[in-house]
């Protein structure tokens, strides 16, 4: 059923919070995502021409880099992009087969690859480019929020987080229930002014991005020339040279 589930009061809204201040653009999240998911719920994530020119493949997470602003205010920002598990995802409602669905219990958006006909309308409907065609199988693939990790009881409880979150060396990715205002991720979003992408589209993404912090005021002014004052130079020869060179 591609009609959206009516959200039960208090239902979980699982999602990611991505800290653009600390992301270093190492692509570890994208790599570990590919590694986990090529044998996970949406497996495989195929590659085309992996060992020759024009190699490409299906990835659920892609790390962009942008320059924002100019001069002293300018920043380089690394920007991981993946499915935002929207509250009103048009990728689900446009699906003609019922293969795309949003889970009522936790809000995760998934594809049943046994029912997908590969019409690609969901990819057109997603403003964020979260859905990619598996050209080997002819079906659509997307981020599962590692549904096969986060509920996996064979994994130690503290590691039941999406693969991208578990691997981030800069702790720039956080996972949790954004429907609960008292969860750690909700508090983090409130504290740091986390925002959603393209709010004007009206898809109501669940994932939040934390903005880069403002550069500290010390960085803005050039460091002063450090060094001894002429009166502090005790060696007579060096004092004479300083005098000559300072003319």
């Amino acid at each position: 059923m591609t009609s959206l589930p009516s959200p039960a009061p208090g239902a979980k809204k699982l999602g990611l919070v991505i800290d653009l201040d600390t992301c270093v653009g190492c692509h570890a999240c994208a790599t570990n995502c590919k590694e986990w998911n090529t044998s996970g719920h949406m497996a495989p994530l195929p590659d085309q021409h992996p060992y020759s020119a024009a190699q490409e493949g299906v990835w659920f997470n892609r790390v962009h880099a942008y320059e924002a602003g100019d001069g002293d205010e300018g920043r380089t920002v690394h920007f991981p992009r993946s499915c935002l598990h929207c509250e009103t995802p048009a990728c689900v409602t446009v699906c003609p087969t019922g293969a795309s669905y949003k889970r009522a219990e936790d809000g995760i958006v998934l594809v049943n690859t046994d029912m997908c006909i590969g019409c690609q309308l969901c990819a057109w409907a997603c403003p964020y480019g979260a859905r990619e065609l598996d050209e080997d199988q002819g079906v659509m693939k997307k981020c599962t929020l590692c549904v096969d990790r986060i509920y996996n009881e064979t994994i130690p409880e503290d590691r039941r987080v999406p693969a991208c979150v578990s691997t981030c060396p800069a702790n720039a990715r956080h996972f949790g229930d954004l429907g609960d205002p008292n969860s750690d991720v909700s508090k983090l979003v409130a504290e740091r002014g986390g925002y959603e992408l393209m709010p004007e589209m009206g898809y109501q993404p669940v994932n939040r991005y934390l903005p880069p912090r403002k550069a500290s005021s010390q960085v803005k002014t050039a460091p002063k020339e450090a060094g001894p004052l002429p009166s502090q130079i005790t060696n007579p020869l060096l004092r004479w040279m300083d005098k000559v060179l300072s003319r």
Partner: protein, 311 residues
């Protein structure tokens, strides 16, 4: 957006087929078309063949065509599913209309014709709404897109009907109707292009990344060195340089020239009218193929905002 030949052929062929079915179902009971049973049957068969060929072509766009039947299930939410259901259901009155026309069953022609016309209009409207409902593509998420599919389908269908009717010596009314629709389509398409060209996109790199509070956002590095599905499918930019020339070709070949020829065919008669009306129908179909190619090639998707603008 990448212009997929299978979808371009589908929407033009099925659009013309449904347009032909619409006018046949509406005008035949009113007695505005040639009375010959052979004419009626021929027109209905051509409509059904165009519709079926288009629908078969649309299956070529699917990654798993053998599962296409599943697309009929989600009509509650999906315009694509509604289009499929509409297309299947329309075959029922359309087939009855064909049989009624072939046997000249006047009592059946009226209800089957009206139901066929209704089914054709609903199905083409659903096709238009597939595109008009997609917010990430500003050229499609536009109030003139779904009415445009209806207008262009009814125009090309009327041109086909006129071209057929002149061969049975009764082409005056469909030729006049098609010429008027062609003129309407010409001004409608011009107004649409003027509107999309002057409407700024609601989304920008700044809103796509949320970094606008720092300043202008410029892509620095792509996530990958090679292309990918998203870029090939939704950041198609080839031949946009020729878009203005192609727009003129679509307007002149697709709408203006057929409208003129159909006026001529309505006034004149005999062999010259047959040639003019046939050329008009051919021009309408060719022009609409160009128009439909542009619908895709000129459409921009918000996912392209995340990537550098190709030079």
């Amino acid at each position: 957006m990448k212009p997929a030949p299978s979808i371009i052929f589908f929407t033009v062929a099925s659009g013309a087929g449904y347009g032909l079915l619409f006018w046949l179902g509406l005008l035949k009971p009113l007695g505005l078309l040639p009375a010959s049973t052979l004419f009626g049957a021929t027109a209905a068969i051509i409509a059904l063949v165009l519709i079926a060929a288009g629908l078969c072509s649309s299956l070529l766009h699917l990654g798993r065509p053998e599962r296409a039947w599943r697309a009929l299930s989600q009509w509650r939410s999906s315009w694509l599913s509604r289009e499929g259901v509409g297309a299947i259901l329309t075959f029922i009155p359309a087939t009855i209309l064909l049989i009624a026309l072939a046997h000249d069953e006047a009592s059946l022609i009226l209800p089957a014709g009206l139901l066929s016309a209704l089914g054709a209009a609903v199905t083409v409207y659903c096709t238009g709404m597939i595109y008009a409902s997609l917010k990430p593509v500003k050229e499609w998420h536009h109030p003139m897109v779904a009415p445009g599919y209806l207008l262009f389908g009814s125009f090309s269908g009327a041109a086909l009907l006129a071209a057929l009717a002149v061969f049975w010596g009764g082409g005056f009314f469909p030729a006049v109707a098609a010429a008027a629709l062609g003129l309407a389509a010409l001004f409608f398409k011009r107004a649409y292009w003027q509107s999309v060209d002057t409407t700024p996109a609601s989304s920008t790199r700044e809103s796509a990344t949320g970094l606008g509070f720092i300043g202008t956002v410029r892509p620095l590095e792509s996530p990958h060195t090679e292309s990918n599905y998203l870029l090939r499918e939704m950041a198609f930019r080839v031949a946009r340089v020729h878009a203005m020339k192609l727009r003129s070709i679509a307007l002149l070949l697709g709408f203006a020239l057929p409208a003129l020829l159909l006026c001529g065919a309505a006034i004149l008669g005999g062999g010259i009218a047959m040639a003019m009306a046939s050329l008009a129908a051919l021009g309408a179909i060719l022009g609409l193929l160009v128009e439909r190619w542009l619908i895709f090639a000129e459409a921009t998707h918000t996912v392209a905002l995340y990537y550098p603008t190709p030079r």
